[in-house]
Symmetry: C2
Subunit: 276 residues, 2 copies
Amino acid sequence: MDSDYQFDVETAVSADEGSSEANKTVFKTHVTRHYNIAENPNGGYLAAIVTAAMKQVSPHPDPVSVNTHFLRPGSADSDATVTVTLVRSGRSVTTMRATLSQDGKDRLEVLATFGELSGSGQSEPLFTIAAPELPPIDECLLRSGVEQGLNLPILSRVDIQLPAQFALAGQSDEAMVRGWIRFGDGREPDSHAMTLFADAFPPPVFTALGNIGWVPTIELTVHVRRQPQPGWMKGQFWTTDLTDGRFVEDGLLWDSSGALVAQSRQLAMLLTPPPG
Amino acid sequence: MDSDYQFDVETAVSADEGSSEANKTVFKTHVTRHYNIAENPNGGYLAAIVTAAMKQVSPHPDPVSVNTHFLRPGSADSDATVTVTLVRSGRSVTTMRATLSQDGKDRLEVLATFGELSGSGQSEPLFTIAAPELPPIDECLLRSGVEQGLNLPILSRVDIQLPAQFALAGQSDEAMVRGWIRFGDGREPDSHAMTLFADAFPPPVFTALGNIGWVPTIELTVHVRRQPQPGWMKGQFWTTDLTDGRFVEDGLLWDSSGALVAQSRQLAMLLTPPPG
C-alpha cells in the first residue's frame, strides 16, 4: 500500500505466507478504534478491510456487489485475519467469499463480486437516480454523537455535514437522513470507500424516533455503480420497513458531479424500543 | 417433504448420507425445466432450491436475507448438489452459505441469514411501503413470452397478470412493471417462494426498451419481511440505474392484505443492446 491516507493505512492487509490452500488466501490485518461507533468498529469499515483483501486476489479492481453478514461485533485495537476464497473469475467479473476473524471467532462473512467500473461522466446512463438538492455545506451541522447518545470516534475519519432537520434527534416525521460526506484527511472517495460511506450516516430511524443508541446491522449490501469524482459526496438514507425490532434501510451516494455512485440496503436491529 | 404442490416437489432436497464434515451438509436435488426462461432455469427458482436445503440445516425457519451470486447458468432436467455450510447460529438468526453445483461446476454461491418471521397482520409496522393500486386481475393480461421474444416455461408454474402498459414491449416511458402473481396449482405463497416471485416478472427494462431477450442476473438479494397471507400477491419492479450494460433492479412484493412481504434488488446484464 503506497498511500499514507488514514483509510488506506487502516484497511491495509498483508498475505500470510505459507497459509495458502488452492483458491484460498489468508491475510493479516489490524482493526483500529478510529471508526468506532461507541465501543464497536463500524460495520462498513470492517467490510472495507475485507474488500481490501479481496482486491489482492481479484483480477478485477472494483467491488460492484458486496454482501456482508455481521456474525458478531468486531474488536477495536485488535489483530484480525481475513480468509479469502476465490469462487469464480470470469471475463467480466470475479466472485469471492471471505471471513474476517478475531481471537478465533468469525465476525463477518462476506460474498462479493468485483468488476471494472467506468468513471463518473465517462458513459451516459440510460436510467439513473438524480441527486437531491441540499443546503450548502457551511449551512449544515456536523454529525453529533451527543444527539445520538453515543461516542462516535468514526467522526475522526469522516466529515459528515447534515442539514439541521437531519442532525437533531426526533425532529422529522419520516425516517430519512440526507447530508454531505468526505474523508477528514483529504483522501478522495473511490469504489473501496463506499461500504464505509454507506454505513457512516446516522441511522434514519433516529431522526424520527429520537435517541435509539446503537443499531447493529445484520446484513449490509452495497452496489457500486461507477467511480466517483473527487470532492464531497451526497448521501441519502431512509428506513423503508420497520417491524418486530428489525428494519430495512436503503441508501444512495452521489459524487460531486451529481452522478449516482452507490446503492446500499441493510437489515438492522433496533435494540432500544423507541421512546413512546 | 409432505406437500404435493409442484414448487415443493421441484425444490425438494435430500441429505447425502456419509458426506458430512463438521458444519457442512451435502444435499442432492434435481433441477426441472419447468421454471425455465428459454433454455435457462430461472435464477429465483435455483435460489429457492438452495434455501430449501438451508432450511434443513437451520434452527430458524424463514429466509430473511438471501444473497445469491450467479456464477454460471444452471442446467435444466439435470441433477445438482447443494453444499450448505453453517456459518453461525445465534439466538435470533442463523447464517449459512451454500454452493449449488451441476456436472462438477459451481453454478450459484449463496449467503443467507434465516430468522423467524411474524405473519402479515400479527404486528403493526412503524414504517412500511404501501401497496400500489392495480386494475383487477381479470382486466390484466397474462405475461407473454412472445412479447419478450423468449419461450417462458416458468409460466407453467406461476400465473403473472399484468396491466396492458406493463405487458407489452416498449410501451412505457419508465422501466417499471407492476402486476399480480400466484402459483398456478393453488399452492399459497410463503417466505420460501419469495426468491422465485422476486425474479419471475418481466425485466422492467423491457417495458421501456422493447424486446431485449434474456437478461442474466449477476446477483440477487431478497429480504423477506413477514409471512404472506394466502391469495394473489402484488409485485412492483423497476430499474433504478442502467449504465455500461449493467443495471440495478429493485422489487417489492405485497400479500393479499396489502402488507409488504419482500424487498429485492438485483444486478443484471443487458446482453442485447436496446433497439435504437
